[in-house]
């Protein structure tokens, strides 16, 4: 970081493109109106933009409310618009999440609507040349190809890569588009972000989301941050974390690096990458040994803790120190501190999730909170920070290979539920899918190919795939493929695909890193600021973005592009049966009404576009301390109506800021752990014991509500005649009339039942979290004791474990590649970085891709700070970057940011030119993922980006 900030070199991009400012921007635009030759390349599509002309300070200013498009804190912004151009960005001091604050990315958002690095019009690669095409031609050609593929290979040979940058409405429509097309080959970056959280946490207590809120962290007395670096990845969250600190909370950071967050913490637990499970068992060892656990909480609200106790017993201070590298004194001190400072919260991010044992990591963090009794209380909970602005929403919308909206899964029952919501006969939906089973799996009810491994869907021998044929056409809609590990295979897969369709404001790597001459399309999508719609922050609060400006250049709203594609391939009528379409754009309000009707399982039914907009238009009414409005039109409600928001919008449920909170009535946002896994296991009840939320008529555990339970309780006749018809044979989650939920709430009971959280997930490969050494481990001595899984087939793809770990020993990979490598985030960039590196205000701050290495390792290799180095990964991928020699990483460990792309194996890639400008970002660099290797979580197919092996040498 320091390294690049010293740089005074101007970037490679041409001088004229640099420091393009508002005035120059306007000037160029007005030139286009005049039709002067040089600018006329911009063409007619740009003329609309040109109307902006030069804007004097005195021009009338319109103020729009929007939300930052980077991380999921959900910071509000006042956007000043003059003559249709976003000219100023003012702080939203009244916004309850950020109170006007922004990090580098948030403070530079305005640029995205001005960037000349954007794709200006639809483009197609033909005979090695990028050609401008019309929207109609592009949609027609792509649609024809899709139909041709469907005919010969079936619907599963089209891959729908989606995005956490979609609005909720975009994410929902995209998921539905894939369903109408007839495939589960749809996914997005949550797969490589928090998929292991969603699976691990949901399987522990019901919902796989952040349980509390950013603002609630202010109430914590102890903050345990493990595998997260909010100072860089979620800077505005630090506002709340530091407020807690100033009120006396202590901060413990478990991170292999001395991170920017650690600089503000009290205790550092520098664990070896990939040893989270032993570290947390190590904490529990002390907690159990000293009787510091919350015995009441465990007895009434947690199930299966005995197995955890047994496993924790094995993790003696000596063994924990041996495996994790953290001193026994530090572990003891941290455990003691957590035990004596409650409530405490746990915060985690990619450092915990992106492992081949990710589902175990997220479960062990959750179990720690159960042990300490920190769940369902203010200042407690698991505050899981989601990465992208709408990754919570996109996940909720089922933009996943294994889910329909609302986490219903892809079972026949789930499809029947959604067919009813869509008002389509089930047979018609089923008819869109490939009906034949492959490797004994039925395509409609088998999860698709994950975002992390779409390339395996292209390259794998089709006999080993549980679908008819390889993927032949793929959409990369708002996703940079440089965020996936094994970049060499990603490149091969891009080469092998028959057609690539990139839909994005920027070309992104799918359009750049291939070695093709033909059949790559780029369709310019509008940014979030050029469309309206809702999004959910990490804390499950919904916000509504107003449209700041019209789509710039020829770009279009995602909803319109999806609709036009659907119309071309003949599925538009089913896609938008109950959604109004104006021009070619489906109404976001109608889309929200449709998904809110269907997503009963997570309590979306209380949402309506009107309610969400009323919150967004009244930021100042909500307290930053409580997130609740003490008065005004939203009196008593929590900002953004965090789900579950029960009942109908008219019932005005206030939203649930803190999940599983028994000290409140369900009608005021109370709750308890969800009865999602039946009522007993092996003869033991898993319902709550003598614990229930305030006011519940049954002050004990109870199963989820359905028609049978209502009848047994004698409450069936509280349903109206119409409700009864719809409720027959339904549960609370599938009763479209909502009667079952209404009656449950009338008795102050939670529709989803009242169970214990479970420490044992009997459906997972590891019933309780178990330590397994990374595939590419530097500790061969630990493989025998803590081996990885055996190879297995996960859904459609074969997945390797033991085969690769064995190779470490047989091929001496730990000797050849002695350094551990992890990847992570920089504050200035986000995700694959194509958008943020195309913003000069950000790009100027980080101009070089680098690897952090300890002075000991650097000196051994004759490497000095700032030297050019060659980094080679354990599967042979190599990159040429700079060395940053720093004590931030411990000896034997290295770290790289993953936002760079545009250079591969030392060779600069060629970006298309669009509208007379190169789309090449101001800063390019080698992707860390060229070095990173195989390794996937067996439950979710999360990729392993935090532990691999590499060697660094002077270049």
């Amino acid at each position: 970081m320091k390294l690049t900030r010293k740089s005074t070199t101007t970037p490679q991009a041409g001088k004229t493109e640099l420091g393009i400012n508002r005035r120059q921007f306007m000037k160029q635009m007005s030139v286009a109106t005049g039709g002067i030759a040089a600018a006329s390349m911009l063409g007619t599509g740009m003329i609309r933009k040109a109307e902006a002309k030069d804007i004097p300070h005195s021009s009338p200013t319109e103020v729009k409310r929007t939300i930052c498009s980077h991380c999921a804190v959900g910071c509000g912004i006042y956007a000043e618009v003059q003559n249709g151009v976003w000219t100023g960005q003012e702080p939203a001091f009244d916004h309850p999440f950020n109170q006007g604050g922004h990090c580098a990315k948030g403070a530079s958002l305005r640029y995205h609507t001005h960037s000349h690095k954007r794709v200006k019009y639809p483009m197609k690669l033909e005979s090695g040349k990028w050609k401008r095409v019309s929207w109609d031609d592009a949609i027609n050609e792509i649609g024809d190809k899709m139909l041709d593929i469907k005919q010969t290979s079936g619907p599963d040979s089209v891959y729908f890569m989606g995005s956490a940058k979609f609005s909720n409405e975009g994410a929902y429509l995209y998921r539905k588009l894939a369903a109408m097309w007839g495939t589960n080959n749809v996914d997005h970056s949550a797969r490589i972000c928090h998929s292991t959280t969603v699976a691990g946490v949901a399987n522990t207590w019901g919902y796989g989301a952040q349980t509390n809120s950013f603002n609630d962290i202010r109430n914590a007395k102890n903050i345990f941050i493990i595998g997260a670096n909010p100072a860089e990845a979620h800077p505005v969250a630090m506002q709340h974390i530091l407020t807690a600190k100033e009120r006396g909370a202590t901060i413990t950071v478990a991170d292999p690096r001395y991170s920017r967050t650690m600089a503000h913490a009290d205790v550092h637990l520098p664990l070896r990458p990939g040893t989270d499970i032993p570290l947390v068992y190590g904490l529990m060892w002390h907690i159990f040994e000293n009787g510091w656990e919350d015995k009441d909480f465990i007895r009434t609200r947690a199930w299966g803790m005995d197995k955890i106790r047994e496993e924790a017993k094995r993790w003696t201070p000596e063994e924990v120190e041996n495996v994790t590298g953290v001193s026994r004194e530090a572990v003891y001190a941290a455990a003691k501190h957590m035990a004596h400072h409650r409530p405490g919260t746990v915060i985690w991010c990619m450092g915990g999730t992106q492992h081949h044992v990710g589902n175990g990591n997220t479960r062990i963090y959750s179990i720690l909170q159960l042990v300490l009794g920190n769940m369902g209380i203010q200042g407690g909970g698991t505050n899981i920070f989601r990465g992208h602005d709408n990754v919570q929403g996109a996940t909720d919308m089922g933009l996943l290979f294994d889910n329909l909206p609302g986490y219903y899964g892809v079972t026949t029952g789930a499809w029947e539920h959604w067919a009813r919501v869509w008002d389509l006969p089930f047979d018609q939906v089923q008819g869109r899918f490939d009906a034949s089973p492959y490797l004994g799996r039925d395509p409609m009810t088998t999860p698709g190919i994950p975002c992390s491994r779409w390339h395996d869907g292209v390259l794998e021998d089709k006999e080993k795939l549980a679908q008819k044929d390889n993927v032949r056409l793929a959409f990369f809609w708002g996703q940079s493929v440089n965020t996936e590990t094994r970049q060499m295979e990603v490149r091969d897969a891009l080469d092998k695909l028959e057609t690539i369709v990139v839909v994005d404001p920027y070309p992104t790597m799918a359009a750049v890193m291939h070695r093709r001459k033909d059949n790559v399309y780029i369709l310019p999508a509008a940014t979030q600021f050029e469309c309206e719609g809702s999004l959910n922050n990490s804390g499950r609060s919904a916000q509504w973005r107003q449209q700041v400006v019209e789509p710039v250049f020829e770009s279009k709203n995602d909803l319109e592009i999806m609709y036009r594609l659907a119309a071309k391939v003949g599925i538009a009528d089913t896609l938008t049966k109950h959604i109004k379409v104006e021009g070619n754009t489906p109404s976001p309000d109608d889309i929200m009404r449709e998904y809110a009707k269907g997503m009963r399982s997570i309590g979306y039914t209380g949402w309506s576009p009107e309610r969400i907009k009323a919150h967004t238009m009244n930021w100042g009414d909500f307290s930053a301390e409580t997130l609740e409005a003490p008065g005004g039109v939203n009196k008593g409600e929590t900002y953004g109506l965090p789900w579950p928001c029960w009942g109908t919008p008219e019932q005005k449920h206030p939203g649930t800021q803190i999940l599983y909170r028994t000290d409140r009535n369900v009608n005021q946002g109370g709750g308890n752990f969800r009865a999602r896994f039946g009522v007993e296991f092996e003869g033991e009840s898993i319902l709550a014991d003598n614990s229930a939320s305030v006011g519940a008529e049954i002050q004990d555990g109870y199963p989820q509500f359905d028609d049978v339970m209502l009848k047994q309780l004698g409450w069936w006749d509280e349903l109206t005649a119409e409700e009864k018809v719809l409720a027959e044979n339904r549960t609370w989650a599938t009763d479209l009339g909502g009667g079952i939920v209404r009656v449950a709430l009338a008795h102050n009971m939670i529709p989803y039942g009242n169970a214990k959280a479970r420490c044992r997930v009997w459906t997972f490969p590891d019933e309780i979290p178990l330590h397994r050494e990374p595939l590419y481990t530097p500790r061969r001595d630990l493989i025998a004791k803590y081996p990885t899984h055996d190879d297995m087939q996960v859904h459609r793809l074969p997945t390797l474990y033991k085969t690769l770990q064995d190779k470490v020993i047989s091929d001496n990979l730990d000797k050849k590649y002695p350094l551990v490598v992890s990847s992570g985030r920089l504050v200035e960039y986000e995700g694959g970085g194509e958008e943020s590196r195309s913003n000069p205000w950000l790009a100027e701050l980080q101009q070089e891709m680098f690897i952090e290495m300890n002075p000991a390792d650097a000196t051994d290799r004759g490497i000095r700070d700032g030297d050019n180095v060659r980094v080679e990964g354990a599967e042979g991928g190599y990159i040429f970057i700079k060395a940053m020699v720093t004590n931030r990483v411990k000896p034997g460990q290295t770290w790289m940011p993953y936002h760079f792309a545009g250079v591969m194996h030392g060779e600069e890639l060629v970006y298309p030119e669009s509208g007379g400008d190169s789309t090449k970002p101001y800063v390019v660099g080698e992707s860390a993922n060229t070095v990173l290797t195989y390794g996937y979580d067996p439950v979710t197919q999360m990729q392993e980006t935090k532990v691999s092996l590499c060697q660094v040498e002077k270049a």
Partner: protein, 189 residues
């Protein structure tokens, strides 16, 4: 009469660079690649004791730049903001010598390695041109002070580390923080 000051609360600064890009965003009409009126400086990077502070022109009461400028291009507004006249500036760099904060910046792209006109933080108060005129916007950037607003860097600070405004108000806010933190470690690092 107000006396405008910046204060960076190092207990809160997380080196997120929000202030740096906020400045770029607001003053982009006057800035170019390589000119950063505000920077975040980190000491003890990556080791215990790491601390960051956001630095720009501190608008000194007895400004050394003003004292040494051979062209006498500096002037002070009635709010205590130190500004300079780019038309008078000769680009000698003497102010850069004198400034204890490294605030003065020089463009890097001019021919023969010439320094060009000095550029520095204006406290978002524009410069030696008519308020909100084209000339002011081009040479100095935004003029938020004339609109009754404070500098963008402090307004957008992620953690409210960077404070800007009348010195008495800023020090009241900071005093309150220090008092509520209640420890002898309340200030630096």
């Amino acid at each position: 009469m107000a006396t405008m000051k910046f204060l960076c609360d190092t207990k809160r600064c997380i080196e997120c660079n929000g202030c740096v890009t906020a400045c770029k965003n607001e003053n982009d009409s006057a800035l170019e690649w390589g000119i950063q009126r505000r920077r975040v400086v980190t000491i003890n990077d990556g080791v215990p004791g790491e601390a960051s502070i956001s630095v720009a022109c501190m608008h000194c009461s007895d400004a050394p730049c003003m004292a040494v400028c051979p062209a006498d291009c500096f002037y002070k507004t009635e709010d205590g903001i130190v500004l300079h006249d780019k038309d008078t500036c000769i680009g000698c760099g003497y102010c850069f010598y004198a400034c204890p904060f490294g605030a003065p910046q020089f463009p890097q792209k001019s021919v023969f390695g010439g320094r060009g006109k000095m550029d520095k933080c204006t406290f978002c108060a524009g410069g030696a041109e008519e308020n909100h005129s084209e000339a002011e916007r081009k040479k100095y950037g935004a003029n938020r002070i004339a609109e009754g607003k404070l500098p963008m860097c402090a307004e957008l600070c992620a953690t409210k580390a960077l404070l800007a405004g009348d010195a008495s108000v800023v020090s009241d806010i900071y005093r309150e923080r220090v008092a509520s933190r209640g420890s002898n470690k309340a200030i630096w690092g």
